[in-house]
């Protein structure tokens, strides 16, 4: 500073400054131009891109799950409904001190360790400001207790939702089935977008097979959210389309009668209306309560059900495959007559056993002493085995198998339920595929009395019996009678399918039906105790061997354990003049069909055909579905 000569040229300094100021001004304009350029790029060139991003930021799509359709029995009694349930839910972002609030909450309402576990797991997965359940389905008392103390718990609230419930408990579990939470496996087989927001999906029974009808269509709500994910307002809403309801052919009362009639033993009853194919009752014993499955059954309870030796989860009516035993005999006889291997008055002499030409092996009759001379009618009425050994041998397995196929033995009946078993209709082809072995003539012989590898389900027997009753119209069994749109009241009948069985000679069918009536009404009929003054029954008893008796050995019921005892079977339809119900009954390990299975069928038919469920012994007119008055 000191060395300065203060040689200041003010003019020159002024000019220099002006020059620099102008330079600065030009730079300012250029840089501002750069900013403008950037703005043009963002707001004009890339405008659409950023508009999309802004839209993505602010708009959230909230799925609105549809209400699931209801399930009624044929008299409009609810079998499956949606019950409001209350969850205790927490929005963690709105609770000042979560741990403290949870402790206070626990003092009020019991919260299990697994509830908390689930809560923390969900808390990690969910978006901010989403409501997370801490306890599902709280009781009325708990809800009231919480409501009183609500002010102490900001951010915690009771949320109402719908849960599925089955008021008939164990009565209908096999038919109606149950829903459960949508699993990852389920998502693979459905349109996942339609299930956004849906909690439950049908897992078994009608709930599963009519899932697409019951579920409905998801709705969508477009909402504007702020940065915290909180909804600010609703922009657009497409309401959900509720699922349609189902009216079943099943009659709840008849179902109860069937289950009660079985008593304490395991077994199955199927009742079908031969005019429509509608399933009137479908009982499998033992049953189970489907309700615990809705919210997720505990693994302990599930294991207990699975490991129960009586297999309560197993639907015996369509998954249980049993040898048809003697109940197959009317079908065999019809095969013989229709294919002209047999004449009506043709007699076979029953010695108590049958031998194939050139073989020593004795195929025994259940009656050791033999029935003597037998025509078709007598063979059916008295259930002579030898007659049918002979007949089957004469027809041969190929023709026999083809005729049995017309009654859909060894085929799925086509019922509107998933999980039906086909059973086994033995044939050369079947044996080759299954055992890689050739067919032996002796196997044809025992197929004649519904034994050997032959297996049918109670449902198949009932449907085939209905086809005999109505003269060759094999109607696929239907659980669902109508699909009802509750909002419009529109009713659509479920689609029916018929497989017509060709009739060669009506007389043959009439004679077989007569023989089946003689089983009840004939003096030597195997189910003659069913005869009653109110209506006429046609039927056939059967006994299915579980245990093969060795050659020349006695079958002594008392000596073998219960599990190895024969299954008792009975098929029937009534009234004979105008069949309204066809029934198949199996009583597991029940011994002789006439003794244990036939009374069950009688109770079911009484309940269906007589006023007051059989208490008033008077025939009533039952209107078939679809028939007007």
């Amino acid at each position: 500073m000191s060395g300065d000569l203060n040689f200041k040229d003010y003019r020159r300094e002024g000019r220099l400054f002006t020059y620099r100021a102008i330079t600065a001004g030009v730079l300012v304009v250029m840089l501002l131009g750069g900013i403008v350029g950037r703005m043009v790029y963002l707001q004009v060139v890339d405008h659409e891109h950023f508009t999309t991003l802004a839209q993505d930021n602010r708009v959230k799509l909230i799925p609105l799950p549809p209400t699931r359709g209801l399930i009624y029995d044929r008299k409009n009694r609810l079998l499956a409904l949606n019950r409001p349930a209350f969850n205790l839910e927490i929005i963690p972002e709105m609770v000042p001190e979560l741990e403290k609030s949870l402790l206070e909450l626990e003092a009020l309402i019991e919260i299990r360790a697994q509830d908390k576990e689930r809560f923390y797991k969900l808390k990690r997965q969910k978006r901010r400001f989403e409501s997370i359940p801490i306890k599902l389905d709280i009781s009325q008392e708990e809800a009231a207790l919480f409501a009183v103390n609500r002010h102490k718990f900001p951010g915690i609230s009771i949320k109402a939702r719908l849960t599925r419930t089955y008021p008939q408990k164990g009565l209908m579990a096999h038919v109606v089935g149950y829903v459960g939470r949508v699993s990852l496996k389920d998502l693979r087989s459905i349109d996942a977008s339609n299930y956004a927001g849906t909690t439950y999906i049908g897992k078994t029974g009608v709930e599963k097979s009519y899932e697409d009808v019951l579920h409905g269509k998801v709705g969508l709500q477009q909402v504007e959210v702020n940065v915290l994910g909180k909804t600010v307002r609703v922009l657009e809403e497409t309401p959900p389309q509720p699922g349609r309801s189902l009216r079943l052919n099943i009659d709840m009362d008849l179902q109860r009668v069937a289950l009660d009639a079985l008593g304490d033993v395991n077994g199955a009853v199927v009742a079908i209306d031969p005019r429509t194919g509608g399933v009137l009752a479908m009982a499998s014993k033992p049953g189970f309560d489907a309700n615990p499955f809705v919210e997720g059954i505990s693994s302990k309870a599930y294991k207990a059900l699975q490991e129960d030796p009586d297999k309560p989860l197993f639907n015996r009516t369509l998954q249980g495959a049993y040898p048809p035993g003697s109940t197959i005999k009317p079908f065999m006889a019809l095969a013989g007559l229709e294919m002209e291997y047999l004449e009506l008055k043709e007699k076979i002499y029953c010695l108590g056993f049958f031998q194939l030409p050139g073989h020593d092996h004795k195929y025994r009759d259940w009656k050791k002493t033999g029935h003597g001379p037998m025509d078709v009618d007598a063979a059916i009425t008295q259930s002579c085995d030898v007659f049918f050994y002979q007949l089957a041998h004469e027809i041969g397995i190929d023709k026999l198998e083809q005729y049995l196929k017309k009654f859909r033995f060894g085929e799925k009946t086509g019922i509107d339920l998933i999980g039906e078993r086909t059973g086994i209709r033995p044939s050369r082809e079947w044996k080759r595929e299954r055992y890689k072995q050739v067919w032996f003539p002796g196997e044809t012989v025992i197929v004649g009395i519904g034994q050997g590898a032959f297996e049918t389900t109670p449902l198949q027997l009932a449907a085939a019996t209905a086809a005999i009753a109505n003269g060759g119209h094999y109607l696929e069994p239907r659980l669902v009678e109508e699909i009802v749109d509750e909002s419009t009241g529109e009713v659509r009948p479920s689609d029916t399918r018929e497989h017509t069985i060709p009739v060669n000679n009506h007389n043959n069918w009439d004679e077989i039906r007569k023989s089946m009536v003689h089983v009840i009404e004939g003096p030597r009929g195997t189910a003659r105790h069913l005869q009653n003054e109110h209506y006429r029954i046609a039927g056939k008893t059967g006994t299915a061997q579980v245990f093969t008796v060795k050659q020349d050995e006695e079958y002594d019921e008392s000596k073998i354990s219960k599990k190895m005892r024969d299954h008792a079977l009975f098929i029937a339809y009534a009234p004979v003049e105008d069949p309204q119900i066809a029934v198949a009954v199996i009583v597991e390990n029940g011994g002789h069909g006439g003794a244990t299975a036939a009374p069950v069928a009688k109770l079911v038919m009484d309940a269906w055909l007589l006023e007051d469920g059989g208490k008033t012994p008077q025939i009533k007119h039952v209107v078939a579905a679809g028939e007007t008055d």
């Binding site: 100021a21 600065a24 300012v28 403008v36 707001q43 950023f50 802004a54």
Partner: protein, 379 residues
Amino acid sequence: MSPASFSPSGLPASEPAQHRGILARVHMDLPLLTGLLLLCAYGLVILYSASGENLAQMERQAMRLLIAFGAMFFLAQVHPHTLRRWSPWLYAIGVGLLLTVLVTGVIGKGAQRWLDLGFMRFQPAELVKLAVPMMLAWYLSSKPLPPNWKHLLLSLLLLVVPVLMIARQPDLGTAILVGCSGLFVLFLAGISWRLIIALGMLAAAAAPALWYLMHDYQRARVLTFLNPESDPLGAGYHIIQSKIAIGSGGVYGKGWLNGTQSQLEFLPERHTDFIFAVLGEEFGLMGILLLLAIFLFIILRGLYIASQAQDSYSRLLAGALVLVFFVYLFVNAGMVSGLLPVVGVPLPLVSYGGTSLVTLLAGFGMLMSIHTHRKLVPK
């Protein structure tokens, strides 16, 4: 008020003495005042939307503006000679206060930018924003210009000390602004272009060294600036959301109070540092062009005032203050639109907040003082 007092209306012409009206007598420059008032009014309109229609915030901002315009009015009355005499003292006080902040900050074990005076919090850096260009202008104006090496080095020393102290606080934005104010004085003083280029290269070479001096959060900001998408939920979030806001505004904008990014709070710090994005979203390119036009008018008027000043001190101070005002705008607009890293620089006179408002308008008060205290020598 004679009608003639309105006649200059910002035209770059020096008013003859006989046309000086009331405004000139109270040392107000009408074009500059008009520009500033327009900008502040526009700013309040944007702030009303950016604050989420918060009337309490509007009131507070209006109060601050009132105080700031008061400061401007006061400083406009102070003769440039007096300002010049204050310069070294203000500088000394400023640096002293910065030191105090640093020491108390060290004791308090944390970043500290203000002194608690009991009735208000005072940021010494704001005082330094004015004191540094004043000091350099004072020092250089007594020397022949362009300055020689010795004077240049001393000036740089006077500049670097407060800048480093502010950077230590840490307040990168203010440090840049103060640094720029000093460099602008040097530039306007006429240092050679060769030297400017050499300084530029030196700065480029020093950048890696600066990297090591930076705090982690400052490094993160630079990295995020280079690639905002690398951290969309963290540090990059600001830039991404702000670009979305501006870009989705388009040419005409979504309309006042209708910006989804700003109203639904996707845009962070929408009423302070990122208010420019609110403008871009709601008023579109048109709104931005209007804002920039007002800014350009103020800056050009300021540069004109500087060029008309009658002594070196006034010229250098006025020029530096105007250019720093531009740097505010440029850094803020650049940061919000993703051209520059996120540094905490508000949009001058528009962003919500007090201290910088007072400093800026005080600076404009000095400009007005410089312009209205000229000895009018008829040519």
